[in-house]
Symmetry: C2
Subunit: 228 residues, 2 copies
Amino acid sequence: MAIQAILFDAYGTLFDVYSIGRLADKLFPGQGDALAALWRAKQIEYTQLRTLCSTYKPFWEVTQDALVFSCKKLGLNLDLDAQQALMSQYAKLSPFPECLSVLQQLRAQGLRLAILSNGNSQMLEAVVKAAGMQALFNHVLSVDSVQKYKTAPEAYQIGTDMLGTGAKNILFVSSNCWDVCGATWFGYKAFWVNRAGAPMEELGVTPYGQGSSLADLPAFVEHEREHS
Amino acid sequence: MAIQAILFDAYGTLFDVYSIGRLADKLFPGQGDALAALWRAKQIEYTQLRTLCSTYKPFWEVTQDALVFSCKKLGLNLDLDAQQALMSQYAKLSPFPECLSVLQQLRAQGLRLAILSNGNSQMLEAVVKAAGMQALFNHVLSVDSVQKYKTAPEAYQIGTDMLGTGAKNILFVSSNCWDVCGATWFGYKAFWVNRAGAPMEELGVTPYGQGSSLADLPAFVEHEREHS
């Protein structure tokens, strides 16, 4: 059966988390990229550890913990002003430049669109609103409702439950390769937005589709519908 | 109640995984440290993702997958000879210099000693034997029996099941801070061997004890026994 809906990861996929590096570099000259990269890696690691051990804590708090650790590790003095400045960026992350027009095209193709993110609802609502995308999504879903982060199957299942259709009829779109693997293991058709041209993780997964930006999605979906 | 047994993590705690960097540097001059660090990070990430998604695969294979990915990511041409040379190092990793004498002291203090590792049994037996440590451990335990990697509670529970005593009577020793957190969440008294002087992970955990090498263990245990 053809794809009926598209489920997007948010951070890194629709919204540019690494854009935080620019602010970080103003606060800590020469260290912005290193801080942004370590912060992001720790943020993800903490979600995985907390899910494995059933010690869930909302994404906003996990993100803050990861920031504090990363600054300690890099020897950066994170005062309260800097912490608030960096954290508040998360509420107003820029969407990638192609994002809005691609979402509009996909809507015009008759697809239902949703977000399924590790972010808690308040964070997601803020960033979607700041980008002017409220009207484009049928659902903005947070793993907060199951208190488990991706890649736990319970997190992915929120998408099928809310869209009311099987995982095989949903294209799950993420720029995070681990997320593509988790979604594929769950049963989604997964599309990897591989902006950096990174190698595929060695996890025995082949993504259903792949592109270098969201701009590759409309043609991919069109082609998939014609051939299914 | 006083500590009755000590449960050790293996890789990074008893055996020096970063020593692989030296061989890696011979094979890929100037890139050895980067390869060793990425390989280790990916190895751990893959164990966590596979545990979250119930797609377990033995540690030897996960380690090989992580090596292949890391070389692709760093643009290194990993031929079969190099792959075999690097993987075979895992079977004969050097123990840290203080390791053997500390284990002997702890035995002399009347403690039962065991290993609880992500490594599969064949890998563990090889590395323990190569280090001449067979006689020192009451148990060499692998998570392979539950097909879940640390930090899953099922993995930590192998230790209490096999030692036949409560987690509170066991000191869990690891150089991996995430492992110290997982063990603490499970209920062990955890001791962090913080060789690098790294900051504590921001996971809301305070280790029961901490030292800069295994050499700090005998006095710590002695002191803990006198005061419990």
